[in-house]
């Protein structure tokens, strides 16, 4: 029997993917570990490795196919002692279009919908979730599709029990054990009350609107079904947009963020000197260092001064990170992603700028690798380019702080008792009070402002 290769689930939230590229042709020899194909999800493009050995007998899903359901056969591999005759006639499964139409109603969220996109939602840029929270393993993410694809979640018995007791959704936990298996230590860092599983949602479709008696442990907003929302909204005319895996992760992660007690600190930074230095540097070096590159570097140096803010809360201990890795929110057409400038405090502006340009470009084409957007110890969200004066951003858990950067604009300022004009950029830091106290956050902002306003410090 030829071995069926199925569409892998590259993260637990993935329901379908696009077959971006075949790396093997029919007739090619295949070894375990060979890259078979590139699979594109809303989040990233990932390589899919073969787990079996043999000859690629038939490609069932052509290159470029969109919306291939997880677990759908995409190719057949012939074993050592099999020849093409084993493939039989054109298999029915191959020709069949995506079976979306007859899928259960539960598939509504992922069913293809030709609805037009709404006007751009600017608010999206405000927050910066790390995506995806639960793609298990690193290099092995694409590993055994036969297992990962059938919905099986690998977690140790102890991890399962602790998760159940604490109300943690295992699907939202990233496993650190062998082959990405979830172990007890991974649950320690997870937040209770992450979104309930779909099954749970379906089990109580008639739940009362108010999160009253019988409501699950889920903290924060009640999870409303479509019917409930329509009832509340008085059946307004509407268009239904499918929730992409990315959108779902954004929703989940930022809802999680609610369990962190937030507070906000704002500061106005004068950036005339910074702009002058930038103009000089760009002119002299023929570079294109952006204002945001300066912000990344300044934030990293400020965190180096105030390492207490470069930390995460866990129920067992506050984890103060050794490295300063800055997640930078990049708006995509239908979502956002936060590529990471790792060790930003140790990198020069030119390097940060080059890395950021590369990361942003690849983010927009979905070519980021998992490790390039998973992790990070602090986030920056900059909406200055849209003219936003100031705003607050939602923390990207498990991080403890995010810096919201507004537009640099000419404003009247008082200098030595007289009115003057300066270019001012308003920045607001959102902090998780469990980790960062008011004074700590204020010192971080002070350090940041000092560096931004005296950019020579950036060169030190």
């Amino acid at each position: 029997m030829p071995i069926e290769v199925r569409m892998p689930a590259l993260s637990p939230t993935m329901t379908e993917g696009n077959l971006a590229k075949w790396h093997k042709k029919e007739g090619d020899a295949v070894k375990a570990g060979d890259v078979l194909a590139e699979i594109e999800t809303d989040k990233a493009t990932m390589e899919m490795e073969a787990v079996d050995e043999g000859t690629l007998g038939r490609i069932l899903v052509p290159e470029g196919a969109q919306g291939v359901k997880v677990n759908e056969p995409i190719a057949l591999i012939l074993g050592e002692d099999e020849d093409k005759s084993a493939l039989g006639a054109k298999p029915a499964a191959a020709a069949k279009p995506a079976p979306a139409a007859k899928a259960a109603p539960a598939a509504a969220a992922s069913a293809p919908s030709p609805s037009p996109q709404p006007s751009p939602q600017r608010g999206e840029g405000v927050s910066a979730p790390t995506l995806p929270p639960s793609a298990r393993g690193q290099g092995e993410a694409a590993a055994p599709p036969s297992h990962a694809g059938n919905g099986r979640l690998f977690a140790s018995p102890l991890a399962r029990r602790i998760a159940r007791d604490r109300g943690v959704d295992l699907a939202a936990v990233r496993g650190s054990g062998p082959h990405g298996r979830i172990v007890a230590a991974d649950i320690a860092g997870a937040r209770p009350g992450a979104a309930p599983r779909p099954a749970e949602q379906q089990a109580r479709p008639q739940a009362p609107l108010a999160p009253a008696a019988g409501a699950p442990r889920t903290a924060g907003a009640a999870l409303l079904t479509k019917d409930q929302v329509l009832a509340l909204a008085g059946n307004l005319a509407h268009t239904e947009l499918p929730i992409s895996p990315m959108r779902r992760v954004i929703a989940q992660r930022l809802t999680q963020s609610e369990s962190a007690p937030h507070f906000y600190l704002s500061a106005d930074c004068e950036i005339d000197r910074l702009l002058a230095m930038r103009a000089q540097a760009n002119a002299a070096a023929d570079a294109k260092i952006s204002l945001n590159d300066f912000v990344i570097k300044a934030a990293a140096l400020a965190l180096k001064e105030i390492p207490e803010a470069n930390a995460s809360w866990s129920e067992d201990a506050i984890l103060q990170w050794t490295e300063i890795d800055i997640s930078v929110a990049v708006a995509l057409e239908h979502g956002l992603i936060t590529p990471i400038v790792k060790g930003a405090d140790k990198k020069g502006l030119a390097q940060i700028s080059a890395e950021m340009r590369d990361l942003a470009a690849r983010a927009r084409t979905g070519k980021l690798k998992l490790e390039e957007f998973q992790g990070g110890t602090f986030s920056i969200s900059n909406l200055g380019m849209f003219g936003t004066k100031d705003f607050t951003a939602v923390i990207n858990p498990p991080q403890s702080a995010i810096l919201a950067v507004g537009a640099g604009e000419k404003r009247p300022v008082v200098k030595e008792g007289a009115l003057a004009v300066a270019t001012v950029m308003s920045c607001t830091l959102t902090c998780d009070h469990r980790v960062i106290d008011g004074a700590t956050g204020a010192r971080l902002m002070q350090a940041f402002k000092k560096i931004i306003e005296a950019p020579a410090l950036l060169a030190l």
Partner: protein, 466 residues
């Protein structure tokens, strides 16, 4: 003089070093080991393996002395100390030759001599004070092991006062023996010599024998040893040792009393010290604390490119811990994903005395000290059919669970073959099983392993056979 470039040079070919080298070779690294003595280190040549050969002999002697229980009678049962030692040495040699073969098979160069760091990425090897090779390596793993600790006044002399080395190759079995230290090494020698007929006295400074084991296991072991006829003094030190022509007189002090013990020989087993001398560590950022090299969770020292594993980095001083560190260190160097730091609570410990002792994880006291609310289960060998059939009814299994989560925090065993059984609990811990999976597991009947199942059941009030 040979000069060569390597990806990895391992200093020391014990179970840490040679395993690290093989793993490196598997990962495509060009590797070499430097060894000043025999391949395989202490474990194969002067530790784990030859002592197991000796203990097999003493176990057989014990059986022969109790043949009547099994329906045999025999006269004139004798042993020859020389042959016993010969067999033990032959076993060690066979294993050491095995390592030689493994090195060849994995294309690992073996350099005979003493290694010394000679600047970043450089190792100078000398033999008998004469330089024999200069090696260059991108990565260097120090796996130099440890040796017996000495105490003032009790300095080994090779004749009357032995370390494990002399105790392993006795010219004759002494009529009486004083064992100082009741850790695994001391107790194994005590058991060996006692079962070959020596009058054995054990002195331990702490308040119980096998002090790293669970308190109940220590108490069980002591009772068992004393029933066999060993004399055990805990909370006691050797205050003075007078050496005569063919024996010693030791003054023991404990509980405010002093007693005098005469013995033909003394075995000193009071802990070990790391082999950190003459490695060229001076002037490097390798930090040494109390004779052990300080490393991080990936076995990296403070000096870039220099790592250390096994006994030389500290307890538990066990071969399998060294091997595990060797593998994780090399995999980390190779940049593999999914490398995990060592969790010492997953390292099983075995003592091959009679009855055997084995454990993994936290003792009941350690678990409570860490703030766990515990559920504890016990099961005695006397409740196990196989144990009775074997004529080994003396033993006990104890389990310690986290009452809140059902996590198996520790397992502690004493009795026949427990050293072969403990891996079951070690797997359970590594897989993070809870009591539920252990209860659900079907243990074969009749086996000693059923005691493990019952000890789990007992922790949850469900024991069947007791």
């Amino acid at each position: 003089m040979a000069e060569a470039n390597y990806d990895l040079v391992v200093v020391g070919s014990g179970p840490g070093g040679y395993v690290a080298a093989i793993r490196a070779a598997q990962l495509g690294m060009k590797s070499a080991v430097v060894e000043r003595e025999a391949l395989g280190g202490i474990c194969l040549n002067w530790g784990c393996i030859p002592t197991k050969a000796l203990l097999r002999t003493s176990e057989i002697n014990h059986l022969l002395q109790n043949l009547d229980a099994f329906g045999f009678s025999a006269k004139d049962v004798r042993y020859d100390a020389k042959k016993i030692v010969e067999r033990s040495r032959k076993v060690a040699k066979q294993l050491s030759d095995g390592v030689k073969y493994l090195m060849r098979k994995n294309k690992i160069d073996v350099v005979d001599g003493e290694a010394k760091l000679a600047g970043p990425g450089k190792i100078a090897v000398a033999k008998g004070g004469k330089p024999v090779a200069d090696l260059r390596a991108k990565h260097i793993i120090l796996a130099t092991g440890a040796r017996a600790r000495s105490l003032p006044g009790l300095e080994p002399d090779g004749k009357l006062v032995w370390t494990y080395r002399e105790a392993m190759i006795p010219p004759a079995i002494p009529k009486s023996l004083l064992v100082v230290g009741s850790g695994a090494i001391g107790i194994e020698f005590a058991s060996f010599y006692h079962d070959l007929g020596a009058d054995v006295t054990v002195v331990e400074v702490l308040d119980r024998v096998l002090p790293v084991e669970d308190e109940e296991i220590s108490a069980f072991a002591r009772k068992s040893f004393e029933k066999q006829g060993m004399k055990i003094h805990t909370g006691t030190t050797v205050k003075e040792l007078k050496r005569a022509a063919d024996g010693v007189t030791a003054t023991l002090e404990g509980g405010g009393k002093t007693t005098s013990v005469k013995a033909e020989r003394v075995v000193l087993a009071v802990g070990i010290v790391g082999n950190v001398e003459n490695l060229g560590l001076e002037g490097t950022k390798v930090k040494v604390e109390r004779t052990h090299i300080v490393v991080d969770q990936w076995c990296a020292t403070g000096e870039p490119g220099v790592y250390a594993i096994g006994d030389v980095v500290g307890p538990p001083w066990l071969a399998h811990k060294a091997s595990h560190e060797g593998v994780l260190c090399v995999e980390r160097i190779a940049g593999l994903n999914n490398v995990h730091p060592l969790d010492v609570t997953n390292v099983p410990g075995c003592t091959y005395c009679r009855p055997q002792v084995a454990s993994v994880g936290l003792t009941e006291k350690a678990a409570k000290d860490k703030g766990f609310e515990v559920k504890v289960g016990h099961f005695p060998y006397i409740g196990n059919g196989k144990a009775i059939a074997l004529g080994e009814p003396e033993g006990m299994v104890k389990t310690v669970f986290d009452a809140k989560t059902g996590a198996l925090l520790g397992a502690h065993m004493i009795g026949a073959e427990v050293t072969e059984l403990i891996q079951g609990f070690a797997i359970a811990r590594t897989l993070e099983t809870t009591e539920a999976e252990l209860i659900e597991t079907i243990f074969p009947h009749p086996t000693l392993s059923e005691t493990m199942h019952e000890a789990v059941l007992d922790a949850y009030g469900r024991v069947i056979h007791f």
